[in-house]
């Protein structure tokens, strides 16, 4: 009974201190909020690069290049907008990632084998997308340069055909076709089949946001890890009360009432667990509000409870081992950050070097994040994440028992 009274008292303290309580939840919410803002609602929209094409040349090659983005696949990623000279003003306003300018006479110079320049104007306000355009342009220029060298004669003939006012004769067209064909035949050995084949396999499901457990957004990918980190910090803050009570003489005073050390420890553990669990559910609700699909509800609830138990137990154990609030803050912050870094809260485990991957499994953060990802991406039910639940719950209970035993020992030794 005394334990429950202590829990109620702690919750009342949270209600009486709305600012302090809000600050407790601020870190995980702030981090999640930043991710939500950065990646957008659910982060389901693909990034499209808006490129202005100023074709002053209006020649064969410039029109061919300008229409390269019209293929259905490219169309999703590249938004090529034909513009005139006003394109420079649009760029001034920062309304596109880059502008590609084909100057007058570009096609003719190219066909004649003369050096040509394609100016690209980049948007300085954007960091990555103009870079993508520049790199793409560089590759295109390389291809055009090599083509110009290999098909020099044929290009020169085509150049003269385009300048003539009369339609080219069958013989001239045939001669160009035959020359191109001849050169392709001689290049076949190197070009077909290509020496290097690039084969891409998608190991994570495609980013979608449809259906229960059908996939995850970028925010959804990071939110479990961030939530776990937030809950660890929340538990850190809640366990700080134990040390504060100890240092301010409140524990001593409490023990003069009909309250045993076991009652007090049980009450405080329960209190930390309740705060952590409430905090986690709060973050889950926040995730749902910004479009994150956590997967099956039962799995999420079970994982939240198990992860909160692990977080509470770990922080109570830490606070029971140190002498002061300051020591506890330093030690627990180190533990939390290391667990989050190697447990995959910020970077997917698949990106880790081989030697680091087994270490990830020693942290509760890994088991929590892994469980949530399973539920989000595969729609895993409770049975499918039973290992995660067992590891988290088991670790939580062990941490709690050890922490409670250490606190009890301190109390018996008069250290509290």
């Amino acid at each position: 009974m005394a334990a429950l009274i202590i829990v109620v008292r702690d919750l009342k303290r949270m209600v009486r201190n709305p600012v302090r309580t809000a600050l407790l939840f601020a870190l995980p919410l702030m981090l999640a909020g930043i991710f939500a803002l950065v990646f957008g609602r659910g982060a389901t929209e693909e990034i499209t690069i808006r490129v202005l094409v100023y074709d002053e040349d209006q020649g064969l090659i410039s029109r061919l290049l300008g229409g390269a983005g019209a293929s259905p696949d490219m169309d999703r990623r590249l938004d090529l907008v034909p513009v005139g000279a006003e394109g420079f003003e649009i760029m001034e306003r920062g309304e596109a990632s880059a502008l590609i300018h084909f100057p007058a006479g570009f096609t003719q110079s190219y066909l004649d084998g003369e050096p040509v320049v394609i100016p690209i104007v980049k948007n300085p306000a954007e960091r990555f997308l103009p870079q993508v355009v520049e790199e793409g342009g560089r590759i295109g220029a390389e291809v055009l340069s090599q083509g110009s060298r290999v098909f020099r004669t044929e290009l020169a003939t085509i150049g003269s055909m385009t300048t003539n006012s009369t339609f080219p004769s069958d013989l001239a067209v045939g001669s160009v076709a035959s020359g191109v064909n001849h050169k392709l035949e001689s290049l076949e050995r190197w070009v077909f089949p290509p020496v290097i084949n690039l084969e891409t396999t998608t190991v994570t499901p495609e980013i979608t946001n449809e259906g229960e457990g059908g996939g995850t957004s970028i925010l959804g990918f990071f939110l479990p890890g961030l939530s776990m980190m937030g809950i660890l910090f929340l538990a850190q803050s809640a366990t700080r009360d134990i040390l504060h009570d100890r240092e301010s003489g409140l524990v001593k005073h409490l023990l003069t009432a009909p309250v045993s050390p076991a009652d007090y420890i049980f009450g405080k553990c329960l209190s930390v667990l309740v705060v952590s669990t409430l905090g986690f559910f709060f973050l889950v609700v926040f995730g749902i509000a910004v479009g994150v699909d956590w997967g099956p509800a039962a799995t999420t609830v079970a994982l939240v409870l198990a992860a909160s138990l692990a977080a509470s137990g770990a922080l109570i154990l830490i606070s029971s081992l140190v002498g002061t609030e300051r020591q506890a803050d330093a030690l627990s912050t180190i533990v939390i950050m290391v667990w989050c870094l190697i447990g995959g809260a910020f970077v997917p485990i698949s990106q880790f070097p081989d030697f680091l991957r087994p270490l990830a499994k020693t942290t509760p953060v890994f088991w929590a994040v892994d469980g949530f990802q399973e539920a989000m991406q595969q729609g895993a039910d409770i049975a499918a994440v039973s290992t995660n639940l067992l590891v988290l719950g088991g670790a939580g209970v062990i941490f709690l028992v050890l922490g409670a035993a250490a606190l009890r020992r301190r109390m018996a030794g008069g250290l509290i």
Binding site: R9, K12, R13, R16, K252, H253, T256, P258, G414
Partner: protein, 309 residues
């Protein structure tokens, strides 16, 4: 009755409490007087069941607090030296929490909280957060928490430390009221005046041991001195000893360079006869003061030190 037998607590070589034997009778205000570090707080911690003694026995009406802690603690109120309240809660919240721990529920809890707040004059601040309280108000609330469940035994550990005289008087009045209603009070202090004004019986404690126990009258009589003389001047220890030790009716308690404390024997020649001899002793005296026998002089005669040392 609170009975303490052979109570001991050592921290390595330091004997914080060293074989205390004590009986505190029902309804009395018992004072534990001693300088800082004498072992008062360690004793209170053991008596209140927070700190386990190395040896000894503490019983409340025959119930051993370390054997049946919850039974004893239901009848026990403790007011610690530290202000042990939750500053982010209101006064009422603090008292409700404390009352709940002592088993008070519903209307009984509400009534007790109201009465306790009224008793210490904080009823109009019930809904204010404690962090907004003055030091004196916090002390009164601290006291309130010990009284809330109307305990049979009340242990107060220096409850007036660091507060203004007015708040101190208010606390002493409350303690008197509580005792008058039948509560047995154990009051520790290092303020001699408090012990003199408040306590029915007083034990003087130093270095973890009780030096003497009795009523104020018995203790002052026990010292056998009518007055204590304090001489301050420009002299060394040897010359003071040489010039004053032979004077009849004067017992040297402490002699240092520049200061002499001496008791005037109640059965000797008397102050009027001794004083001219002291002044004519040849010592260079700057100041001379005479104290009527009190706890201070008792403490000095027992330890050779002043209570505040």
């Amino acid at each position: 009755m609170i009975t303490i037998e052979g109570l001991r607590k050592h921290y390595g070589e330091i004997k914080a409490v060293d074989g205390i034997v004590l009986e505190i009778y029902d309804g009395e205000i018992f004072g534990l007087l001693g300088p800082n570090g004498a072992g008062k707080t360690t004793m209170i911690s053991m008596i209140s069941g927070v700190l386990r003694p190395d040896s000894g026995r503490i019983t409340f009406d025959g119930l051993n607090i370390w054997v049946e802690p919850k039974k004893v603690k239901r009848n026990l109120g403790v007011v610690p030296q530290e202000i042990a309240v939750y500053e982010d809660l209101t006064a009422k919240d603090n008292l409700e929490f404390w009352g709940s721990l002592h088993g008070l529920r519903g209307p009984e809890l509400k009534r007790s909280v109201h009465e306790a707040l009224e008793r210490v004059g904080l009823e109009d601040r019930a809904k204010d957060r404690v962090k907004a309280f003055s030091g004196g108000m916090k002390r009164r609330l601290n006291l309130c928490m010990g009284l809330l469940h109307r305990p049979k035994y009340l242990l107060l550990d220096e409850p007036t430390v660091g507060i203004d005289p007015q708040a101190r008087l208010a606390i002493l009045d409350i303690v008197r009221e509580v005792a008058a209603a039948g509560t047995t009070v154990l009051y520790t202090t290092h303020y001699m005046e408090e012990a003199q004004e408040l306590c029915d019986r007083i034990a003087i404690i130093d270095h973890g041991q009780i030096l003497t126990i009795g009523t104020l009258e018995a203790l002052t009589r026990q010292s056998g001195e009518s007055e204590v003389l304090k001489v301050v001047g420009n002299f060394d220890e040897a010359s003071a000893n040489q010039r004053l030790s032979g004077l009849s009716g004067l017992r040297l308690i402490r002699v240092e360079a520049g200061t002499v404390l001496a008791g005037i024997d109640a059965k000797g020649p008397g102050l009027l006869e001794i004083l001219p001899k002291v002044l004519g002793s040849g010592l260079s005296i700057d100041d001379l003061s005479i104290q009527k026998p009190n706890l201070q002089s008792v403490f000095i005669s027992l330890t050779g030190r002043e209570l505040r040392d």
